[in-house]
């Protein structure tokens, strides 16, 4: 080792403190434990930390996200779509669209990826306790809601009525089908699934129609109810007015913004919208907070 190299890796004397700040960009290694193909282009993965100690000590809050690295390819932001009540693993769910997700798509069980996190805020569970919850999700946006659904189901007695409205373009595009069936069977959850007109199959038993239209039909009560809405911008745009019509206050409607992110730490500037950094101050906002933001999401 040359002297220069030594200087490069060790703090020199003149360097005061050497208090060893952590490298906040450094990922932890996680092993892909299980892969489920949800739709033709969506997969979900169960992940565990390679380091058992790490797995034991890891905690996060429902609704937070992480930065997932495919080594040699890049890093991508996904919501942790499992509940904080699950201790032995975390889950993520992604659609194959870009460079990183395409590489992740090709990976097998047992392979290693990197994880940084958890980052961002979480669902205001304390506020939601003792209330009815209405979950509304469209397409690939079920995962960020799904973590809260499981959270609520795992602590079922803390919440009142749970209603789930989930829609996708076609039957094939519905993610977490097994779980949809499982929820269907439970008597403590009301679940409505729908597909866009033309997206149904002969044996489709759910509804046919766009999410906002079906929401009108379902017409859930807004009394003591908190609504969680996640979906493509267009769906949110048309769903909000329906909710407001039903008497929901903007403060009681929660949504998750999905701006492009890189660092996840409020530094790189990419997800800056108004004075807010989505990664740091979000991703979960009330409709009231979103209304204050410039429309850059």
């Amino acid at each position: 080792m040359t002297e220069e190299h030594a200087a490069a890796v060790q703090p020199t004397v003149a360097h005061s403190g050497g208090n060893g700040l952590e490298n906040i960009y450094l990922p932890q290694l996680m092993v892909i434990q299980e892969i489920t193909q949800e739709t033709p282009d969506v997969k979900s993965m169960k992940l565990v930390f390679k380091d058992e100690e790490m797995q034991k000590n890891f905690s996060f809050r429902t609704g937070q996200f992480g930065e997932f690295t495919v080594f040699g390819v890049g890093e991508s932001t996904f919501n942790i779509c499992s509940s904080q009540t699950w201790k032995d693993h975390i889950e993520c769910c992604f659609r194959k669209v870009g460079r990183v997700t395409s590489a992740l798509w090709e990976m097998n069980e047992g392979e290693i990826i990197g994880f940084r996190g958890p980052y961002g805020n979480w669902y205001p569970v304390e506020k939601m306790e003792g209330q009815n919850i209405l979950f509304i999700a469209g397409g690939i946006a079920l995962p960020p809601v799904r973590c809260m659904i499981w959270h609520a189901l795992d602590m079922r007695d803390k919440f009142k009525d749970i209603t789930i409205l989930y829609g996708a373009r076609t039957v094939a595009d519905l993610v977490f089908k097994r779980e949809l069936e499982e929820w269907q069977k439970r008597d403590d959850v009301t679940i409505v699934t729908t597909v866009d007109p033309g997206g149904e199959t002969p044996d489709w038993k759910g509804k046919i129609g766009f999410v906002p239209t079906v929401l009108k039909e379902v017409s859930p009560s807004s009394d003591n109810t908190i609504a969680l809405v996640c979906g493509p911008p267009i769906m949110i745009k048309f769903t909000l007015p329906v909710l407001l019509e039903q008497g929901f206050a903007r403060e009681d409607i929660l949504t998750s913004l999905e701006n492009r992110m890189k660092c996840g730490l409020g530094k790189c500037g990419r997800c800056n919208v108004g004075k807010v950094y989505i990664c740091k101050d979000g991703p979960i906002f009330t409709a009231a907070a979103v209304a204050l933001l410039p429309e850059e999401y």
Partner: protein
Amino acid sequence: MSDETKTEDKPAAAEKEWQPRIIAFVCNWCTYAGADLAGTSRMVYEPHVRIIKLPCSGRIDVSFIIKAFEQGADGVMVSGCHPGDCHYTAGNYHARRRFGGFRDLLEFCGFDMRRVVFSWVSAAEGKKWADLVNEAVAKIRELGPFKEYQKLLAEDIWRKEETNSDRETG
């Protein structure tokens, strides 16, 4: 900088075994078939060429050549059907115009053009392919590794560290 020591002690060990690394971008219909013929006719030729086949020489971009050098190639061969023989009628005519541009561009920027060989090889010219490869390998052996470009590789911000830590353990 310790760069000098680095470049010195690495090739010192590697010099003996250094063999040219040549990447060939060839058209599927003529040159690849020609190379195939060289193989099936059991012609013996230098093994240092790695062939990447493309549908047509018209698909070959200057980026391919640069990328090959970026990945550590010492030479690049580009080859397709003879003019008039293109499977897609005119792909190689278009390619020919571009190849002239590649050549002038690379030469202008200081690439040693003996490292880049353009040729037409038909499906019947197995011998020509074998000769071209032998010729290219001989030439590049004479020229040695593409040090200038490989210096850029050494500057690579992650490889640099690798050489350092390799040295640490070795």
